[in-house]
């Protein structure tokens, strides 16, 4: 702003200057001339004040000579209601965050969009919380798309990735996300991308990237995966065979079938001529088997097991169970019954659990969860349950919550808990009622001890209870125990969550008026 000579004078001080002369444009010069010449300090100060005023008052707008920038496309969806935005604000500031997906889904369902002033916030949220991206993306609209392009420097390009740039220059986490997203829309392209740089990746990234192929896996991926069975890294080989196991027509699965089929036989035995599964344990594990990942150690938990029985179980877990059902014309129930009858040397519900999970056999999984849940490890149950659609998941969960099976009430170690934990869609009234009644039985037992684990679980579930059931919940859980205070506080907390969601959904609906 100020002339260079003034600034120099001001910096070193009048004292140091041999010729403290201030030259300035005419009107100011005229004013300064009226000031005594022997006060150069005052003159400099007055010149500074005057000049600054002159600059501010005489400000002339500069000209942007560029042609007008092309306007962003218009969105014609209505903007969601300001009240709905308030709930979003509350959640983004750290309260009831678990209800965020529900908010995004409800607004999208109403055909609404986010007001443009909130787009930067949501693009930032998507960048920081990748798991919310699939919920946020549909709401951003054309304006959001445009803004993400403008804001590449803020890493908002998660919305529309520059595939090649990210793949070649991005960090591992970014590249993993890219692969994952690309697998959704263009699975072929994603795999080709991976194949192109495969040799240059280190073992850890190879393993991580390979895992992305799980999404939209098809026989087109099989040659690549088969090749990966010879990888240097054990983890990569394991990931590859886990994926190949999901492709019943893969060479890997065919090999497994060829190995196991001669070892299994269905016979009718005994007076009742019951169907019995007879198993011959392989004499030894061959090298080709070992290449296919079958070289397990003895299972210490089962003293009777040998290296060979464990190997057989492993091989079985890579074969879709439907193969056996078709071969012998058995239902899943009959297959399990035959295995029990034959006292097979492996844990059949778990092995077929893994097999059905890998083959994505929903019917088989649903059968196992509904009837064999107690014999299946909780982690496997969770994996299987998460692949079932919401309505089937409810169907298999309900029997476990019936009064006969929840006499002791619902505890944190109840077998149905893993199923409920992965049910992250709005729950039906039926299921909610069953859970609450079971819970009530637990709370009304004598000497009930505070189960903090359960407390936390139910609070998480509360984000999926139907909000209109609020009053039923309070009635069902009318606590009359000695621990009244602790439980009452907890019922309040459940109530609060439902209340929040109910009002939030109402506020979103308000946008329709």
């Amino acid at each position: 702003m100020y002339p260079e000579s003034w600034l120099n004078l001001a910096t070193v001080g009048i004292e140091q200057s041999s010729q403290p002369h201030i030259s300035c444009p005419p009107p100011l010069q005229h004013l300064l001339a009226q000031w005594p010449a022997n006060q150069p300090e005052a003159k400099l100060l007055l010149a500074a004040a005057g000049f600054q005023l002159q600059q501010r008052a005489g400000y002339l707008p500069a000209q942007d000579k560029r042609p007008m920038p092309p306007p962003a496309a218009m969105d014609d969806r209505p903007i969601c209601h300001p009240d709905a935005m308030r709930y979003l604000q509350v959640m983004l500031s750290g309260h009831h965050e678990n209800a965020l997906p529900e908010w995004f889904q409800a607004v999208a369902q109403q055909g609404q969009r986010i007001p443009p002033e909130a787009l930067p916030l949501l693009l930032d949220t998507g960048r920081k919380q990748p798991d919310l991206q699939p919920y946020i993306a549909p709401l951003l609209g054309q304006r959001g798309d445009w803004l993400a392009q403008e804001g590449r420097s803020r890493k908002w390009d998660w919305l529309r990735l520059e595939v090649d740039t990210v793949w070649e220059e991005g960090k591992t986490a970014e590249r993993t996300r890219l692969l994952h997203r690309l697998r959704q829309s263009e699975p072929e392209r994603a795999r080709k991308l991976l194949e192109a740089t495969w040799a240059a990746e280190n073992a850890r990234t190879r393993e991580e990237f390979l895992g992305c192929l799980q999404l939209n896996l098809s026989m087109a991926d099989e040659p690549f995966l088969e090749q990966a069975l010879d990888d240097r890294s054990k983890q990569v080989r394991r990931t590859a065979l886990d994926l190949l196991a999901c492709l019943p027509h893969s060479r890997f699965c065919q090999r497994m079938q060829a190995r196991v089929t001669p070892l299994l036989k269905l016979e009718r035995r005994g007076v009742a001529r019951k169907r019995t599964l007879c198993v011959t344990v392989p004499e030894t594990l061959t090298d080709p088997m070992k290449r296919d990942g079958i070289h397990s150690h003895q299972d210490r938990s089962q003293p009777s097991s040998t290296v060979e029985t464990v190997g057989l179980a492993q091989m079985l877990s890579y074969i879709p169970p439907a193969i056996w059902c078709d071969l012998w014309q058995l239902s899943p129930a009959e297959l399990l019954q035959a295995a029990r009858q034959g006292k097979v040397p492996f844990d059949s519900p778990s092995i077929w659990g893994w097999a059905s999970y890998r083959a994505n056999d929903l019917d088989f999984m649903a059968y196992l969860l509904e009837h064999e849940l107690k014999n299946i490890d909780a982690d496997l149950a969770r994996l299987m349950a998460a692949t079932l659609p919401a309505d089937r998941l409810e169907t298999v969960s309900r029997p476990w919550l019936q009064p006969a099976r929840t006499k002791e009430g619902l505890k944190s170690n109840h077998p149905a808990i893993p199923l409920l934990q992965v049910h992250q869609q709005p729950w039906s009234r039926d299921l909610t009622r069953l859970v609450l009644e079971a819970l009530n039985r637990y709370l009304h037992r004598d000497n009930v001890r505070p189960d903090y684990l359960l407390r936390g679980m139910i609070l998480d579930f509360a984000y999926f209870f139907p909000p209109p059931m609020k009053d039923d919940i309070r009635q069902t859980l009318a606590i009359e125990t000695s621990d009244k205070n602790m439980w009452e506080d907890w019922v309040d907390e459940i109530d609060l969550r439902l209340d929040f969601r109910q009002k939030m959904l109402k506020a979103i609906l308000r946008g329709q008026d």
């Binding site: 300090e41 942007d64 306007p71």
Partner: protein
Amino acid sequence: MTRLLPDWTTEKIIAFAPDKASVKASQKLAKPQKWPMLGHDTRTAWGAFQGSGKNPYQVKLDLLRLQQEETGYHCSCPSRKQPCKHALALLFILVEAPETVAQGEPPDFVKAWLDKVAEQTRKREARKQRSSQKQADPKQQAKTIAARQAKILAGLTDLEPWLLTIMRHGLADSQLKSHEFWEVKAARMVDAQAPGVAHWLRDIAAMPNQDKPAWLETLLAQLGQLYLLIQSFKRFDALSPEAQADLRSVVGWHHRQEEVLETTPLADQWLVMGRQESPVENRLRLQRGWLRGQNSQRDALIMEFAFGDAPFETRFHPGQWLDAELVYFPSRYPLRAFIQKQTPLPNPPRMGAGCSIQTSLERYAEALALNPWLRQIPFFLEAVIPTRLSGRWIVREVEGDYLPLSSTFGQRWALLSLGGHQPIQLIGEWDGQGLLPLGVVVDGRFVDFSQIGAI
């Protein structure tokens, strides 16, 4: 049943609360069964809540005043947050479950509170009256004014040689970067009853980036203005009353409302153009509300102070219209005013048209010519496009004229997104160097930037 607070909704209570934690806490308490006593009559609502104290907290709401957005609540709890969670909880109950609140005769504690409030109002009025009577005594008034003027002049005269010494030694002097250097003089200015100058000196001490060339320029400009102020104040008696008033504003010798009651108020329909809140010092907060009259096309600045968590007297909602009478404080370019009478406006007029960058700048030049101490005035720009020009953020017109955005503006991306590279109406403060957007109008929707900050 008729609703007790027809204008209030759950969302409005959320906005009314001091923070989000209070909302959460109060929603937990908003269960009628938790309240041993709940009741209302036509004017008030009350409740008793057993908190952690020995006696239940007594919560009272003045429905009449709440309906007019005044601070009509009180609770006997010791919370420093206002409104407290108990008052908010009672509000939630009234709005969400009014049927659980029975009509009845107010208990004594409600009556006592109403009496106390009435008493306070009476005292305040009486004080106002007394002070205006005191003001009415011209001899006494002249004496007070002369005494203060002399005190300020003495203080400023003290500053003059100090300023000249700074210039003699040069701005490279390292002691200029120490806080104490300025603080000593700031304290002296407080003693001289010139808090405006004290504040100014503290601002200079707090200027960031002391190593950058821009700091030097700003420092020189500030010292120059300070010197100009001293020279002007020496000529105080020779100035017109309006010019005197402008000088008084700079040194922090503000006119009180009762001093200007005889000024004719200006009645108009006012658009609330923007609202800004900033900390002053010692937990004191300042609210600046900008208004523009629909018929008069006059701008007005309403300044209010509040201490700690206390709410401001007026709640401004930018984009809203007020039917109000404003009294301007004297100035060569009157801007600062207070609201004397205000009634709600049932049918707000259409948003008035703004003007071009060129016209707005001319307006600013005129304002500065009249009052060189003026820092900023509001701009209501009719059609500008928020965009970037070689890394700088600007708003430009279709023809190419542009203004740079103030470097302190924190919602550039929101502004860019609202514009979408198309012309929008924009309201902002211009200080001769940068434009600080306060709000925009897009598709008939008023967007207030002070609200976006909260997201």
